[in-house]
């Protein structure tokens, strides 16, 4: 049984003029446990919306989304929040770290909404991503590459079954991007988490054995270009 199974998933937004604009229409998508898949697609093709739907941040208008045997699309929001906290790690392009919290606290907070804060594991994770001597640093005191590493540690903190990464190298220079990608892929492989990574960087996409174009799996009609 696949880790993630999506059937007829649909999501539309209402435009300011009142018309519904379908952003996601995925008839079928599957992701095996421990698999690492890259999704490509130009801006505006619903990549982030698709990841938000998988993460349970957005509720689909229709369709079925099953994660690790749990029909997520049928869950109420608090249950989706809980499932996201325990089973999904999310890495964002802009890192989305809490600026008022130290590196260690950012990881601990990620844990606290899931199985519970585990200081020794949080420290071990930060050491693993090379930030063992930066535990009490605030994000603004760290480089962008280091901030992304905190985000990686936070995403893995709750031993998720699935890690979603939305353009995780988009804000990094080439060297940091390579490092970050290797770190994410290596950490997911070590922890046994599946990885679904979205990127439009050909270099990143080429490094994956399996990658798909979102345009191929998302059948939503594209809005006319401006």
């Amino acid at each position: 049984m696949p880790l993630l199974e999506i059937t007829d998933l649909r999501k539309a937004f209402t435009a300011p003029d009142g018309t519904a604009h379908e952003v996601v229409r995925v008839p079928r998508f599957e992701l095996e446990a421990r698999a690492q898949v890259a999704l490509s697609g130009p801006s505006g093709t619903g990549k982030t919306t698709f990841l938000h739907l998988i993460a349970g941040i957005l509720a689909p208008d229709s369709g079925k989304l099953v994660l690790d045997g749990v029909e997520m699309s049928a869950l109420a929001e608090p249950a989706r929040d809980r499932l996201r906290a325990t089973s999904i790690g999310y890495i964002f392009q802009t890192f989305n770290l809490l600026q008022g919290f130290t590196a260690l606290e950012n990881v601990l907070l990620g844990m606290s909404f899931g199985p519970g804060a585990d200081r020794s594991r949080a420290e071990a994770l930060l050491r693993r991503v090379g930030l063992g001597d930066r535990l009490d640093h605030f994000p603004r005191q760290l480089s962008t590459g280091q901030q992304q590493r905190i985000a990686v540690a936070r995403a893995l903190a709750n031993r998720p079954k699935l890690v979603l990464a939305d353009e995780p190298t988009g804000n990094l220079d080439a060297a940091n991007a390579r490092e970050a990608l290797a770190l994410i892929r290596g950490a997911c492989a070590e922890d046994g988490a599946a990885l679904l990574l979205v990127s439009h960087d050909p270099g990143v996409l080429a490094s994956f054995d399996r990658h798909a174009s979102l345009a191929e799996i998302n059948h939503a009609s594209r809005p006319p270009s401006a």
């Binding site: 941040i57 929001e77 929040d81 770290l97 809490l98 008022g100 606290e105 990620g110 606290s112 909404f113």
Partner: protein, 401 residues
């Protein structure tokens, strides 16, 4: 633990507004507690302040005026009581002790009161407490121009045993109204925390015969303080003087007259209390405004928390808890403000009346007012918390342009 960490960090991130808002809460809470405690303590202290006496006999007029004049040494005397009336009540079998008082002079604003030594030797200003003279001094002797000073008056006038002074005519200080007589300080009373501390005590005859006073009324007194053998006797004497007679007034019981004064100014208490509550509401409103105005800046953090798995109820609770925490910080500081205000008010009341309020005295308001302020602030936090509850996670996470 998570909520508390979120609150602590948020308070630190918005440090300036946290401090300003907490100070507003501190001032409002301190004011609320001060008004409440001073009101209650003043009522209890003044109504309990009988000087150990049950009643006052004076000229026909207001009972309250009689009490204020004879017990609190405020107000002017409503008139004189013939010496015969003093003797008459002193010999009444229902009366345990009757001590005459005469007023009409001052020394630099502090009232001179003429009385007999019985006032100090036979009366108790509180159960089991008699006046005592500081070592090295003594009570005045009848027939001599000697003065015994209340502790507060001695301190403020800077007089000590052996010093001499000339009294001034009238109850208010007029430098041009100095009497010729010279009085010598022979003793200073130990503090009694009663209006007697503000008085310069001299022999009754000294005041009655002071130069410039009307010699035809020299035998009269301003009032007679009365201690009854039994409280029931007060009713009989009240009937005798107030209903059957028409020359004199028998003010009994003393506490009732003071309570009447407080009742008359009850509206003022209510206005003060209302103002204090309004200030408290405004302060808790500032908590609402402070947090609400920062919600745009928090939008991203709230979205991140939600993306990490925080429930809507968690972010809602964090905001309410933050509002309550600001109030807790403010109310901790408010005690400093409270003790300062009550100390100043107590000093003013002591200077004006001799009655002492205790800023450190326990009052239930010290418990329920902070609880009320924290509850009000938490309630004020609900408005921004609702906004946090409705955070759109997807929008909040999108890169800021």
């Amino acid at each position: 633990m998570t909520l508390w960490l979120l609150v602590r960090r948020s308070l630190r991130q918005h440090l300036l507004s946290t401090i300003v808002t907490a100070l507003a809460i501190a001032l409002a809470g301190g004011l609320l507690m001060s008004v409440w405690a001073v009101k209650r303590q003043a009522h209890d202290t003044f109504t309990g302040q009988t000087g150990g006496w049950d009643a006052v006999l004076g000229a026909r007029g207001s009972k309250l005026q009689l009490v204020l004049n004879a017990v609190f040494h405020l107000e002017v005397s409503p008139g004189n009581v013939p010496w015969a009336d003093h003797l008459d009540i002193a010999s009444n079998r229902a009366v345990a002790l009757a001590v005459p008082l005469a007023v009409g002079d001052n020394y630099r604003g502090y009232r001179l009161v003429g009385t007999t030594t019985n006032y100090f030797t036979q009366s108790e200003y509180a159960p089991g407490k008699k006046f005592a003279v500081v070592a090295g001094g003594r009570c005045f002797e009848d027939g001599y121009r000697e003065a015994l000073l209340g502790s507060f008056a001695a301190q403020r006038l800077g007089l000590k045993v052996g010093d001499e002074f000339h009294p001034y005519h009238g109850l208010n200080f007029d430098p041009n109204a100095q009497h010729q007589e010279t009085y010598v300080v022979v003793g200073i009373l130990e503090p009694s925390n009663t209006p007697a501390d503000r008085v310069v005590w001299i022999p009754l005859a000294g005041l009655q015969n002071m130069s410039g006073h009307d010699p035809t009324t020299a035998a009269d007194v301003s009032a007679v303080l009365v201690k009854l053998r039994s409280p029931i006797a007060g009713k009989t004497l009240e009937l005798l003087y107030n209903r059957q007679g028409n020359r004199l007034t028998f003010a009994w019981p003393i506490a009732e007259q003071v309570a009447y004064l407080f009742d008359r100014f009850g509206w003022f208490d209510q206005v003060l209390t209302l103002v204090a509550w309004l200030v408290a509401l405004v302060a808790t409103g500032s908590v609402l405004a402070s947090i609400y105005n920062s919600m745009s800046a928090r939008r991203r953090d709230l979205a991140i928390l939600r993306a990490l798995g925080a429930r809507r109820s968690t972010v809602f609770g964090a905001i309410v808890l933050e509002a309550a925490a600001i109030a807790v910080l403010g109310m901790a500081v408010s005690y400093v403000f409270y003790f300062s205000v009550v100390a100043v008010v107590a000093a003013v009341i002591r200077a004006q009346t001799g009655v002492v309020l205790d800023p450190l005295a326990w009052d239930a308001v010290l418990l329920w007012a902070p609880a009320a302020m924290v509850a009000l602030s938490a309630a004020a936090g609900i408005v921004p918390a609702i906004k946090a509850y409705g955070t759109n996670v997807a929008e909040g996470l999108s890169p800021e342009s």
